[in-house]
């Protein structure tokens, strides 16, 4: 996997050299609201171009086992079901709208999913000696002026130190439990109305890099733009206890079964 990461890093450095040749380049205004174009998952739009993630035999078997269990009513292979964050790269599906705030040293991706902040450092820093793993990882980015008009129009990002467990999306495809995932992004302003993110994931659950694209539609800043708080713990009904999953019946105060043959758990209040 290290050679793959080096290849992508070298590509990023060459792009950076091209962009740094120009001086006085302006930072773009990417304010407003961005919403995903397409479905919640990478498929069908992403798979149409990239194909399915090329899973190793071990992780393909894991996916098939998860699907078998799901058909029985067990909600495996989907960490956000228990309110864990989606993490990288799943957050980039953008189930919910997001906002981009661009400053010279840091760009901020504010996602309505989990009301979370993702920081992308563009101050030229190197990787820290130690990075505490986080679900969105540690991101270093570089701005590029691809069309040479004096305004940056592409942000390339490399993200490491990503915490798990994570899944690519809700289709029971999980990333490797060693959490050595590295994600490369190239976010481009296609036109006034859209952004495109080209996302390459390198992970030991995959036999090679997997590149998928996602586009986001723009709504300019105005008082009509709606942002909504998202606190998953507020009313999540999906509870995991060991290998068992339950549906929290708050109305009756019980943990209800999700699969046939599973007992209902009633608290002993005496």
């Amino acid at each position: 996997m290290n050679s793959l990461i080096k290849l992508f890093t070298l590509t990023s450095i060459s792009l950076l050299a091209a962009s740094c040749a120009s001086t006085g380049v302006q930072y773009p205004d990417w304010s407003g609201q961005w919403t995903r174009i397409g479905s919640l998952n990478w498929e069908p739009e992403g798979y149409a171009v990239a194909g399915e993630p090329p899973l190793t035999p071990e992780y393909q078997a894991k996916r098939e086992e998860f699907q078998r269990l799901r058909d029985l009513g067990v909600l495996v292979g989907d960490p956000p079901a228990t309110c864990l964050p989606p993490g990288m790269p799943r957050v980039l599906t953008m189930s919910f709208p997001f906002e981009m705030i661009v400053t010279p040293n840091t760009s901020y991706m504010l996602t309505d999913w989990d009301s979370a902040v993702r920081r992308i450092f563009t101050d030229g820093r190197d990787w820290p000696a130690y990075m505490l793993p986080e679900f969105n990882g540690y991101s270093i980015g570089e701005w590029h002026d691809e069309n040479g008009d004096g305004v940056y129009d592409m942000l390339s990002i490399e993200t490491r130190s990503i915490k798990g467990p994570r899944s690519f999306d809700s289709t029971a495809v999980v990333l490797h439990e060693n959490n050595e995932t590295v994600v490369f992004e190239e976010i481009r302003r296609l036109d006034d109305g859209s952004l495109e993110n080209t996302i390459t994931t390198i992970d030991d659950a995959l036999t090679g890099p997997w590149t998928v694209q996602r586009q986001y539609r723009h709504t300019p800043f105005s008082e009509d733009v709606i942002w909504v708080e998202y606190v998953c713990a507020e009313n999540n009904r999906h509870i995991q206890l060991g290998d068992e999953w339950y549906f929290l019946n708050k109305e009756e105060g019980t943990l209800d079964p999700t699969r046939v043959g599973q007992p209902r758990l009633i608290p002993d209040t005496e």
């Binding site: 919640l40 956000p80 709606i226 998202y230 998953c232 507020e234 009313n235 019946n249 046939v260």
Partner: protein, 128 residues
């Protein structure tokens, strides 16, 4: 009262799958989409919450006993954007709901198509 019209059931589920891409934060595979049911009942509470809004529906079963169903929908972000608020539904409102139930048979599920008994749609997944 649980309605058992197969035609009714099939029609509403075809429509619901054609018109929705649920804003779920997780897979809905735990719900039995092959065996949907229709529930007619009275709203106990509309929980305008995350990660999902819930319609808590009191339904009379075959034995005349009241069963309270917890029915999961999408999320406040999508529902609010579509023009719905916590006051749009009131306790006591009667609704007819197509439900993908939990596979275990417990009184929980995922609602897919909601309408008033006269057929007027109540669809938080579409602009109001």
């Amino acid at each position: 009262m649980r309605l058992h019209s197969t035609i009714f059931r099939t029609l509403f589920f075809m429509l619901s799958f054609m018109t929705t891409t649920a804003s779920a934060h997780h897979s809905t595979a735990i719900y039995d989409s092959d065996n949907p049911i229709d529930l007619l009942g009275r709203v106990v509470e509309w929980q305008f919450t995350n990660p999902h809004v819930f319609i808590i529906l009191a339904v009379e079963d075959e034995n005349g006993e009241e069963v309270v169903w917890s029915l999961e929908g999408s999320n406040t972000s999508g529902v609010f954007r579509n023009g719905y608020t916590p006051d749009t539904l009131q306790p006591g409102d009667e609704l007819l709901i197509s439900v993908r139930p939990l596979r275990s048979g417990a009184p929980g599920g995922n609602y897919r198509n909601v309408r008033y008994p006269d057929g007027t749609p109540f669809d938080p997944r579409a602009p109001r």
